[in-house]
Amino acid sequence: MTSVRSALDGLPAQSSPVDGAPEADVTVAPSSFDEVGAILDTASEHHLRTLIWGGGTHQGYGGRLDPVVVLSTAGLDRVVDFQPEDLTVTVEAGVRVSDLEDLLAGHNLTAALPETPGNASVGGVVSAGISGWRRARYGPTRERLLEVNLVTGDGRQVRGGGRVVKNVTGFDLPRLATGSFGSLGVIVQVCLKLWPLPSARGCVTVADGDAALAAAYRPQAVIECDGTTRVYLGGTPEEVEGQSAALGADPVEGWDWPEDPAGEVQWSLRVPPALLRTAIKEVRGKYSYQAALGVGELRMAGDEGDVSALRTWAESVGGALVLVDGPPGLYERIDPWGTPPPSLSIQNRIVQRFDPVRILNPGRLPGGL
């Protein structure tokens, strides 16, 4: 057994530290699955806590980490297989969401990933299980994941799912990996199901978002931002015209998606959709908010306030109040996830089997997993 120091020195694909990432002994930026495997095998052997870093846009979720190794996915940046006619694309994890959507838009397609992704990578969005606003129409990101390639915590290369739009061949590893925050392995490649990009796009401001949701018949999104509600429409020109007529207003052409709410502390409040109105009443005036009507998610931002009553209520109705980002000290005072799910022991057993030494993002999942 080599010493930890020489193991660190021997890691392949070493690079300079990544902007924004926490301090670590070594930063690596592998460009092949084999390199990822070799790094994780060594990291497991020497119990080196490893933080996986994509675009750095969702690192505020979950418990804080004090990594020995930062593994950047920036070197995994290839578009592997794009099949416009099959409505599928396979990309490596480090591909930027904005680059992917640009490529797809050139073929009038979209993966319906987050609309204002910033620097987010595809792997990061999948790993954090983040969806765009258009989930109201196309479902969440996990519905888009057809195939996943993982390198497990102990360096095994594993594939699940397949590059076809409909598949029940074995256990659904792609869905299990979505939102797993790296606990099963480094997501190195995914195949995504695509949708045609609507030929006509428009936005209508409405007074009553709940009524609009029903009248527009399955719009792309209905978003209430600090009291103003906009309905996002898309489809054939006739569909957008029909939806606008049902809403009694002329649309402004194009989609103008809101940026994340501004504030030092960001939360995601998740409740059954019908209770979103109650949630809005609770946060209005206290936080800047964006509510996805019909979906049940409310993004809110503000100062460090006392959210315990709001969290208790959200959990009592089957939801959650999740800390999305905030100052480091806040994580010591409050659990970023809240009450862990009742299936925690099964989750722990799964994580053990994919990351036996528990080196990948340890403590990031609910319940300290």
């Binding site: 479902g139 739009v165 409909k166 869905r175 019908a274 049940g296 959200a314 109705v317 299936s343």
Partner: protein
């Protein structure tokens, strides 16, 4: 005490079957493999299911959960002498109109759910051809599809939460009524796990609003190539119809003899397309579909004039398997998926395989998804026929995998395709799946021998977990 006696203590005498004829009935699903049901239990509550699991575990008897038994891959049959737990008596429905969801028992029949939610303006989108018989529990176990999964996705996208009785007899809720439940998505992996990870005793399902308008188009073509080009052309024009179904000539002829749905029997292939939404939108989309069909030399092009004509077309489509019974006493139906662009190439090879083995093959399938259902009609009394059918089936699957396809789109792996899993997954991939199973059910008490080939769990891969690890 015996297992029978203990089960009767829990359920009463009548809800435990042990007579040979009764057991024989529950030893089979709709596939071609027979299992060995030693006892059959009919629980009515979650607590009863949990008690059954605990007592069966005590007697080391394998447990197989079952709905209506419409599965075709042998997923619901006991491969070892075992206990079959039939969930059809658990059929409550509780509709939450405000959230467009419903809590349903696993025994609720798929079509009954849509009938019950219809007055509220909703339906349950997954609509397998067996929807008038199959149960929601079975749909969840197999992640079932159906024609309308093209736009709406398979069952997994319509299940928000499941109440699961684990292999230890514990009851745990996975998922929930709010978006993005925290932690690993165990709900997502239980859907489609064919009863190997636990027994589903309740599910929260998402309901889909009934569309304000619908257009159903029937098109006929002189060649399968033209029909397939139409499928690709529609999608390339930015239209994802609610359903896009294809039938070959042999199938339309069989269906016409059976139900007179109005399909053109002289066409080499028939496409059934449906678009839903606001009236203006469906008009425009129907016009695009018509245009693409004409560009690809459609010989028949008709829009269903009213609801009764539409219902007749769908009756024809969903009666396809019944219609085959007229052609031959037995049929073997396959379920594979290929990339949509490989449809023509795959079908040409599929017909070649059938011809070479001297088997009558008919095709009806979800063309929009690339989900093929080649159907071999035969007489099992004929000497050596069943072996020929099985050989052809294997070749057919190999062809689909070669072009980048999957083993199953909506029927599951069960016992039928278990050993074919090695065609699409390597040792490490199968081991990863076996680890998921091991995390839920290390003793393989629940539906043993299904999905994964024997020896999938390779103990020489990777590192052993740390003792007592809980970071």
């Amino acid at each position: 005490m015996t297992l029978t006696a203990e089960l009767r203590d829990i359920l009463g005498h009548d809800r435990v079957l042990s007579e040979p004829l009764e057991r024989w009935v529950y030893g089979m699903d709709s596939g071609v493999v027979r299992g060995d049901a030693q006892l059959v239990a009919f629980p009515e509550t979650t607590a009863e299911v949990a008690a059954i699991v605990r007592v069966a575990r005590h007697y080391r008897t394998p447990i197989v959960a079952r709905g209506a038994g419409t599965g075709l891959a042998g997923g619901a049959i006991p491969t070892q002498p075992g206990l079959v737990v039939v969930l059809t008596k658990m059929n409550s429905v509780e509709i939450d109109e405000a959230n467009a969801t419903a809590w349903v028992g696993p025994g609720v029949i798929n079509l009954d759910l849509s009938k019950q939610t219809e007055p509220h303006g909703f339906h349950f989108a997954p609509d397998p051809s067996s929807q008038s018989a199959c149960t929601i529990g079975g749909n969840i176990a197999n992640n079932s599809g159906g024609p309308h999964c093209l736009a709406e996705g398979s069952t997994v996208g319509h299940v928000l939460a499941v109440e699961l009785v684990t292999a230890d007899g514990d009851v745990v809720m996975l998922g929930g009524p709010a978006p993005d439940p925290i932690g690993l998505d165990l709900r997502g992996v239980v859907v489609g796990s064919e009863g190997t990870l636990g027994i589903i005793t309740k599910a929260l399902v998402r309901l889909t609003p009934n569309p304000p308008d619908v257009r159903t188009l029937l098109t006929g073509f002189a060649s399968v190539e033209d029909a397939a080009a139409t499928v690709s052309g529609i999608i390339a024009r930015g239209v994802v119809p609610a359903a896009l179904e294809m039938m070959d000539q042999r199938m339309t002829q069989a269906v016409e003899r059976f139900v007179s749905a109005g399909f053109p029997t002289d066409a080499a292939a028939v496409l059934l397309a449906e678009v839903v939404g606001l009236s203006a939108a469906v008009e425009a989309e129907a016009a695009i579909i018509s245009e693409v069909a004409r560009e690809n030399n459609a010989t028949t092009l008709r829009v269903a004039a009213d609801e009764s004509e539409r219902a007749k077309l769908w009756l024809g489509r969903k009666s396809a398997f019944g219609a085959v019974a007229q052609a031959a006493p037995d049929y073997y139906l396959h379920d594979t998926v290929v990339p949509r662009t490989k449809l023509v190439e795959t079908m040409t090879r599929v017909y070649e395989i059938a011809d070479r083995h001297g088997i009558t093959m008919l095709n009806v399938f979800h063309a929009g998804d690339g989900n093929l259902h080649p159907l071999m009609a035969f007489d099992s009394e004929e000497e050596g026929m069943l072996d020929r059918v099985k050989a052809a089936a294997r070749e057919l699957v190999e062809v689909c995998v070669q072009v980048g396809g999957a083993l199953s789109g909506e029927h599951g792996i069960g016992i039928e395709k278990r050993d074919l899993m090695k065609l699409v997954f390597n040792e490490a991939d199968l081991d990863a799946q076996a680890r998921i199973r091991e995390a839920f059910d290390p003793a393989q008490a629940l539906n043993p021998d299904k999905i994964l080939p024997a020896g999938s769990r390779c103990f020489d891969l990777g590192r052993p977990p740390l003792e007592g690890m809980w970071v």
